[in-house]
Amino acid sequence: MTSAGSLRIRATARLGRLTLDVALDCDGGPLVLIGPNGAGKSSLLSIVLGALPVEAGRIAIGEAVLLDTAQGIDVPIERRRIGYLPQDYALFPHLSVRENLEFALASAEPTLSSVQRRQRVDAHLDELGLGPYAHRSPRTLSGGEKQRVALARALSVAPRALLLDEPLAALDVHSRGEVRAFLAEYLERVALPTLVVTHDAADARHLARRIAVIEDGKIVQVGTWHELAANPQSRFVSEFVAAP
C-alpha cells in the first residue's frame, strides 16, 4: 500500500453554539482525537469527510487539495476518497459481506469487469480472514467481525486517509482488548493518515502514535501519551491520562 502523504487540516466552522477552529497535521499512522463530549471531535471528522460545511479552511492529503475556501475548492464526498468507519460501522444491512465490498469497489472503479472485481474483493476479504464470512448478512456478525468487514470495505477502494469514530465503543468488554490489539497492528501496517476519535484512555494509549486533545472546538494539546501524561495542559488531559 502506497503512502498518500500527510493529512493537513485547517478549518473554522460554526456548529450551533460551538465554534470549531482547528489546525491539525496527521502523517502516516493513527492520530487519536480525544476531548470532552460535544468538543467537536466527530464534527471534525465530518468536516474532513465533506459531510459538514465550513466557514473557512483548507484540507489537503499530500498533493490532493480537498477543500480550499480561499480558492473556492470543495471536493464532494464521493471524490475525496476518504475511508470512514462510524461507530456502528454502517455495513449495508441488505447486502451480504461480499456485496458490501462489491458495492464499494464498483462505486470507486465502475470500469472493472465483474471478474476483476470479484478477484479484488476476494483478496481484500482474505487479507482480513473474512473469506468464510463472504455470504453472511452483516446482521449475523459480532462487533469485531463487523469492524473487520468495515475495514476491508474501506480499504478495498484504496482511500487516501482513514477516519474512525469510536471504533471500539460498540464492542463488549470481552472482545474489546483483542480487537484493539488487532486494530493497532492493522493501522500501523496500512500506514495511511488516520484520525481516530475515542473517549477511552486505553484505546487512545494503544492506538495512537500521537494524541490531539480538542476542547471547546480548539486543539489544546498534541503529543504522545507520555508527553500528555508528563505535562497535561488542561484538567481534562490530567484526568484522562490518570484513568486506568
Binding site: E78, F92, P93, H94, F103, S107, A108, R153, P159
Partner: protein
Amino acid sequence: MAVSGGLLVAFLALPLVALFVTTTFVDFRSGLSHPLVWPALRLSLLTTSISLVLVVVLGTPLAWSLASSSGRAARALETLIQMPIVVPPAVAGVAMLLAFGRRGLLAGWLYPEGASLTFTTAAVVMAEVFVSAPFFVQAATSAFRRIDPKLLVVARTFGASPLRVFFRIAIPLAAPGLVAGAAMSWARSLGEFGATLMFAGNLEGRTQTLPLAIYTALEADLRAAQALSIVLVVVAFALLLFVRAALRRSTNPEDAR
C-alpha cells in the same frame, strides 16, 4: 369501559357482517353477472394501475428530497402535499374542475381546440392520483427518514454518486415502507368516488369505476351492488393485511439494522 369498547367494535363490524350474511352464493354469482360489473372492474383495474405507476414514479423522488431536506420550505411543502388527505373528495372534485375543467384555470392551455379532459378515462386517473398520491408520499418520506444517514454518507465515501446511493442503498432499505405506501395509495384510489363522480362523471365503460358502479347498481339491482361491495371488501382486507405485514418488516429493529 369494556362495554363501550364492545359497542364500538360491534358498530364497526356489523355492516361488514351484514354485507356477507344477507346474501347467498347464488345471489352473489348472479350479482356479479350484472352488465355493469365487468366494464367497471376492468376500468377500475386499468385506471388504478396507471395512477399507481404515476404516483410511485413521481412520488418516490419527491419523497426522497422531502426526507433529505429539513428546511422550513420543505416542511411547508410536506403539509401542502398532505392537504388532499383532509380535503373532502367532493371539494377535490370541484377544485379539479376549476383547475383542469373546460372553463378551468388551465383550459386555454390544455384545450386550444375546445376539447376537454373532463368525462374521460384520463380524468378518472387524475382524480385517483389527486386523492391517493399523498398517502404514498407520506409513507415513502417516513420510510426514507428511517434510514440511518451514516449509511448514505459511507456509501458516498466509496465514490458512489447521489443517484447510485438512491437506487442501490436508499430504495432497497426503504422498500417495505414504499410497498406499504403504494398499497395504501392503491386502496385509496380503488375506493375513490366523490372526486371521480364530479370531475369525470359516471359513464359506463369510460369513467364508471367500481364504486360508481355500486352506486348505480344500488338503484337497479341490489344484488349487483352487494356482490361488488363484497369484492371490494375482500380486496381491501387483503391490502390491509399486506400493509401491516410490510410495515412490521420496516419497523422491526432486527430487520432494519
